[in-house]
Amino acid sequence: MVPFTVSEPKPGILSIGGDLSLAAAPAFAELLFSSLDAHAALHVDLLNVTEADISTLQIMLVAVREAQRQGKELRWLGYGLCVEDLVNLVDLNHDLGGPLAVVWE
């Protein structure tokens, strides 16, 4: 039982909600990496994330670098309030390259 929810509204788009703090770290990392392996481009929507901490940011950073290494695209579609707060606090907007505003077709 992981403390967060995942759905895949379209292939290559992950929508994650809930608690992504330390306890969820291994599962979150596993999810991101395996999804990255499975798609040529990955978009991750974090709008409904309710808890996040430094471990979350670390995993996001490693995922971004891994995507670069694999030559694939990884974009963050939305930040939940706690995520945004955290990213701003430690000034990592530039490193993470998000969030994008996306219009669904």
């Binding site: 330390l22 770290a25 291994p26 979150f28 990392a29 990496f33 901490d53 430094i54 471990s55 940011l57 670390q58 995993i59 950073l61 490693v62 670098r65 891994e66 290494r69 309030l81 945004e84 707060d85 955290l86 990213v87 701003n88 606090l89 430690v90 000034d91 990592l92 907007n93 490193d95």
Partner: protein, 716 residues
């Protein structure tokens, strides 16, 4: 009752209890422990705990439980409240207040400050010696590499280099909480994250910590105070602090450790006014570049504000007020009488033998009751200014401690009442004036003794009513303002011309010019930088004025004057050039028939007293007209009296105030408007505005001819 319906009540009650608790604690601090005071503190904590329990608010309940345990020991006599315990109890109260704020903002499940909570719990446990199993609180000797720095607090930019041990996250260290905690100690200028330590995916272990932070904090504090924030993290955090006064060389050596951050770090240091290259290190670091400093992320709104905005949007409109039960009863009684009177009038009118006099009398009775009811209803919105004043003992105590000064605070006139809407808007400006008085006005003990003053500075808050306004005075017996120095400073800052001729009180008013004071100090109270210009603007927004009296070496008095807002006033109607103007009746002293003297004379002789006057025709440029017979209305404002020359006196009536639209905001002399019985519009005069405008435009000639002294009956 569930939280959905009881939230507001719970929050209000808790705040009242906390205020009572703080009051009792401060009493203990100044006047000593007593059973009664200790009980008051205990009861407050106990009641809060009980209410919290009812609604399942475990965060508050559990914390208050611990507090109650300790207070129980104090009550039983096995603990005495010394300085440190007092400080702990006050801080615990502050923390509970934050939990209550969280409830108000629908965030009761979140702990606003887990680090602080743990610290407080540990301290409470230490005093309670609850169980041997609980880890005794031992202040960890921080491995902060202290550079040779002054032990006294310094003000400026501190750079902190924070490195996490690999097991930090596992150990429960929350770096983001630590950073937020720093944010409360001062202004967080920048946070740069060291990411070089992050491995590639294959070697990455998600629960390990690989990050570090380079943080810039503008604050007035010491290295010890900053390290203590990290004390509980123990060995999991390696901390290096570079205070503003230290030699830049060591800090610059950091650049070599973080090649990937180097350009950004140099830029942040440049903007913060710190030396950012070895060459620049030659200059003194205390010269701050006058560049507005950036808060963490460029382009993104400061997270604090974004969060607060969210909280505000979520909070339901606070439209409830507490009302004195006695006043409500009086109102209900009057309504009862009105029903009777109105019945009587109706019966009178319906009767076949109705006489005009009887009807007029009955209607007169109804009118009178309506007037009383109106007064009482409006009166219910009035609240004593003591509500605003009650924050001050604590604030003054804290600030005095922080600045190492002794202050005696006197509060008088706390019963003076003002409209509820003003109370909230007054609080911040008053706070800043008081802070200013303690900061700059009151001298340190040594200086006071040398000047032959008592060691303790005297700060007096006073409030009273005067001619339709509430006056609030903040009086100190400190250094006083020196008009010569103020003028000099204003010239230096390019705010006035070198040859500007200024009277003493105009020099005092210089402190309200934007840009007058140096980089506005960030206060812990409001968390924002504030200058006296902001204070003035806040007061002007509620149509208030601020006067300064001061004598060098003796002290300063700030006097705030606020019109009491009432939606209906008793007005005295006058006619000028066919237009009706209304003068607030409580400002009218008397009316006099005037035989006008020759033009150019602006001073009347009223029963031997000098009275400056203005012609409303001229003030409002309504044309010369025929000045055959005019009237003079004498109005008062504060200590001044002025005559207003009008064409005709019309009489009294009630005026329902209709505010003028935004485009009329700059109008001097007119405050609002009202609709007359015949549907036409009358303008309500703003007497203070009128008087000051008149003062500026007119120069008063010496005493001229007398004004005829045939008096008309007074309006009241």
């Amino acid at each position: 009752m569930d939280l959905a319906t009881g939230r507001t009540t719970l929050v209000d009650e808790a705040r009242d209890l906390l205020a009572g608790m703080e009051g009792a604690l401060l009493e203990i601090e100044t006047n000593g422990q007593s059973d009664e005071r200790i009980n008051a503190v205990f009861r407050a904590a106990h009641t809060i705990k009980g209410s919290a329990g009812l609604f399942g608010l475990t965060l508050i309940e559990r914390f208050t439980q611990r507090l109650e345990n300790l207070l129980d020991l104090v009550r039983a006599g096995s603990r005495k409240i010394d300085g440190e315990l007092m400080s702990l109890l006050l801080r615990s109260g502050d923390y509970i207040a934050r939990l209550v704020d969280a409830i108000e903002n629908f965030r009761e499940a979140e702990d606003p400050d887990p680090v602080l909570r743990q610290a407080l719990l540990d301290e409470l446990a230490a005093y309670s010696h609850i169980t041997a199993e609980l880890r005794a609180f031992v202040p960890v000797e921080k491995p902060a590499e202290k550079l040779p720095a002054a032990p006294a607090a310094s003000e400026g930019v501190f750079h902190l280099s924070i490195q996490l041990a690999p097991n930090a996250l596992d150990e429960g260290v929350c770096p983001d909480d630590l950073l937020r905690h720093l944010r409360e100690r001062g202004e967080l200028l920048y946070v740069l994250t060291r990411t070089a330590g992050l491995p590639a995916r294959d070697s990455f272990v998600p629960q390990r910590s690989y990050l570090g932070f380079e943080v810039g904090l503008r604050a007035h504090t010491t290295i010890d105070a900053l390290s203590s924030a990290f004390a509980l993290a123990g060995d999991a955090v390696a901390l290096r602090i570079y205070p503003p006064s230290a030699n830049p060389a060591e800090r610059l050596a950091l650049l070599a450790e973080v090649p990937e951050l180097r350009p950004r770090l140099e830029e942040k240091w440049r903007r913060a006014g710190l030396a950012f290259t070895p060459a620049a290190a030659g200059e003194t670091e205390t010269e701050m570049a006058p560049v507005p400093v950036e808060v963490p992320s460029p382009g993104a709104p400061p997270p604090e504000r974004a969060k607060a905005k969210q909280a505000e949007e979520k909070r339901p409109e606070q439209r409830m007020v507490k009302v004195d039960a006695g006043r409500l009863d009086q109102l209900i009684n009057l309504v009862g009488e009105l029903v009777i009177a109105s019945e009587g009038a109706r019966t009178s009118a319906a009767s076949s033998s109705a006489r005009r006099e009887d009807l007029l009398e009955a209607m007169g009775r109804v009118s009178q009751l309506v007037e009383h009811i109106r007064d009482r209803a409006l009166n219910m919105r009035m609240t004593p200014i003591g509500d605003v004043f009650q924050r001050f003992p604590r604030v003054v105590r804290d600030v005095a401690k922080e600045l190492n000064k002794q202050i005696d605070l006197e509060i008088t006139g706390a019963e003076a009442e003002l409209d509820k809407s003003l109370v909230e808007r007054l609080s911040d400006p008053l706070l800043h004036i008081v802070r200013n008085a303690i900061d700059h006005g009151i001298e340190p003990v040594r200086e006071r003794l040398a000047a032959g003053k008592p060691a303790s500075g005297n700060l007096r808050l006073n409030a009273y009513h005067e001619s339709g306004c509430i006056v609030i005075e903040i009086k100190d017996d400190g250094r006083g303002l020196d008009p010569v120095r103020l003028r000099k400073k204003a010239i230096e800052r390019g705010l006035i011309a070198e040859d500007a001729a200024l009277g003493t009180s105009e020099c005092f008013q210089l402190i309200f010019l934007p840009g007058f004071s140096t980089a506005a100090t960030v206060t812990n109270l409001s968390g924002r930088g504030v200058g006296m210009d902001v204070v003035k603007r806040s007061l002007e927004a509620i149509r208030g004025e601020i006067e300064i009296e001061s004598a060098v070496g003796k002290g300063t008095t700030f006097r705030l004057r606020l019109p009491l807002t009432l939606a209906i006033i008793d007005g005295f109607h006058v006619e000028v050039a066919g237009t009706t103007f209304v003068i607030p009746l409580d400002l009218v002293v008397e009316c006099v028939d005037a035989q006008s003297g020759e033009g150019g004379r602006r001073i009347a002789n009223l029963r031997g007293e000098v009275l400056p006057y203005v012609r409303l025709r001229e003030v409002f440029q309504l044309g010369a007209g025929q000045r055959l017979r005019e009237s003079l209305v004498v109005v008062s404002y504060g200590h001044q009296r002025v005559g207003l020359v009008v064409d005709r006196l019309l009489g009294n009536s009630q005026a329902v105030i209709k505010p003028l639209g935004q485009i009329f905001r700059g109008l001097h002399g007119i405050s609002s408007s009202t609709i007359l019985g015949d549907g036409s519009v009358a303008l309500i005069l703003d007497i203070p505005g009128l008087i000051s405008a008149a003062n500026q435009n007119y120069t008063f000639d010496s005493l001229g001819a007398d004004v005829g002294a045939r008096e008309e009956a007074s309006p009241r």
